[in-house]
Amino acid sequence: MPLNPLAANPAYLAFLREAGIGDAEAATDATTRTEAIGAELARRLPRIAEGGVREREQISGGFESRGLLRSGQHELSLARQRGDEGTAVGDTMGAGVDQIAELQAALARRRAEAQRRAAEGALRFAPGAYLEMG
């Protein structure tokens, strides 16, 4: 007497296999795309920093040529440039983080759907079954 018709049910096993494979593929895809975003950030942030160094050199060159290298205006211009650089860094990182969070949210939505299908699949395949939770 088979105690567990679900375990011997090829249709249900195929259903679980499909759900498991789909979940693994989605998780791998999300990881790959997250890493790609991380790699893009790793490329763009140093460029912003390098661009900032060049901009500060130009600012200082301009003040030096006018004999104002030791002026407070020069220091404030450099500080504003650093602030602008911070804005660029923040925008870049914010966009990347938003993309990563959206990827994870999509994965969570997909898993919620898989969860619903798994639970309903169990109900369909063995209407008299019971779940042991926790």
Binding site: M1, P2, L3, N4, P5, L6, N9, P10, A11, Y12, A14, F15, L16, E18, D23, T34, R70, G72, E75, A79, R80, R82, G83, E85, G86, T87, V89, G90, M93, G94, G96, V97, D98, A101, E102, Q104, A105, L107, A108, R109, R111, A112, A114, Q115, R116, A118, A119, E120, A122, L123, R124, F125, A126, P127, G128, A129, Y130, L131, E132, M133
Partner: protein, 329 residues
């Protein structure tokens, strides 16, 4: 011999439903990305402010200017961090709403599926009441024993009560189960014989039992006992009774093939998809699934996608073996 009640003793191993809990962990990576972003921005802010002050100090800038410089450099970083904080809060709100939906859904699943053995037994009681009669009583005994056996094996496996249940005790219990099952198997045809069943009345009795497993069990037991009574080696008797297969005359077969729209039903019947479908029919019938529910299930299963003729034949099989289920709108 499985019957409708076996389905009710099924335990859905939660390891098979690991996805049930996946949602609880999902989304944390998104939160982690925000937190990592904030930490990175904080470090860059500190570094930018320190670099600006160091450079200004190196050029002999007055100390009084340092506060203004710090604020000018830090402000954009602070805005960016505030933006990330707002994004995280928004995302967490979304996650919380989704989590609430998930919890609510799981609550509905729990309401539909008993989550305790006691609840499962209540469901069994309903099934028994529906079946009634000798078959119901027999099934009742088998179910109790099956639950007992599963419970002992489960507890033994988990080490709960293991000290109280030695191997020999478990064997004794299981032997007891086997003995009682044997008695029940013998009692069923005896009850039929005692009631004076001949072939006609047996046919009538069988006609009143829509559950194929119950009919098959009774007929097989009668056949075995008849064989043993006739002096045939029980080992051979028990080995020679094949699973019941309803013979379908050629006429209806041809009509069915025409209805499905194929020249030969054999090709479909030999396909893996159809075999899987028949397995699903068995489980569906055992679980008391309606034709409508079964249709929905088959249509939702991707392995039957784009196979309308196979699906039609599977549904015919379900309807043929469960004649009381009428097509519903």
């Amino acid at each position: 011999m499985a019957d409708a009640f076996d389905a009710a003793t099924t335990k859905i191993d939660q390891s098979r439903l690991a996805l049930l809990t996946a949602i609880r962990q999902a989304g944390t990576a998104g939160k982690a990305a925000y937190e990592a972003g904030q930490a990175d921005l904080a470090a860059q802010r500190q570094s930018a402010v320190a670099a600006a002050l160091a450079a200004a100090g190196g050029r002999g800038a007055p100390e009084a200017l340092s506060g203004q410089l710090s604020q000018t450099v830090a402000q954009p970083y602070d805005r960016a961090r505030a933006s990330l904080t707002a994004g995280l809060a928004s995302r967490q709100g979304d996650l919380a709403a989704r989590q609430a939906n998930s919890e609510s859904y799981l609550g509905e699943v729990a309401a539909a599926v008993p989550i305790t053995r006691a609840a499962a037994e209540r469901q069994l009681a309903e099934l028994r009441a529906r079946a009634g009669g000798a078959a119901g009583a027999s099934a009742l005994g088998r179910d109790r024993l099956a639950l007992d056996r599963e419970k002992f094996e489960y507890e033994k496996g988990k080490g709960q009560g293991g000290a109280d249940l030695s191997d020999s005790e478990l064997n004794n219990r299981l032997l007891g189960v086997a003995e009682i099952q044997k008695e029940q198997a013998a009692a069923k045809p005896a009850a039929l014989s005692k009631a004076g069943f001949g072939v006609k009345s047996l046919n009538s009795w069988l006609n009143d039992r829509p559950n194929e497993a119950v009919r098959r069990s009774a007929v097989e037991t009668l056949a075995r006992n008849a064989g043993v009574a006739a002096g045939i080696d029980p080992a051979r008797v028990y080995g020679v009774v094949p699973p019941a297969k309803a013979a379908v005359p050629a006429g209806p077969q041809a009509a069915l093939a025409k209805k499905i729209g194929v020249a030969d039903l054999g090709t479909i019947r030999r396909s893996a998809a159809y075999q899987a479908g028949v397995e699903a029919v068995n489980v569906g019938l055992q679980g008391g699934m309606s034709l409508n529910d079964f249709k929905r299930f088959i249509n939702a299963d991707p392995q039957f996608a784009n196979q309308p003729k196979t699906v039609a034949l599977i549904l015919e099989e379900f309807g043929r073996r469960f004649p009381s289920s009428q097509p519903q709108a």
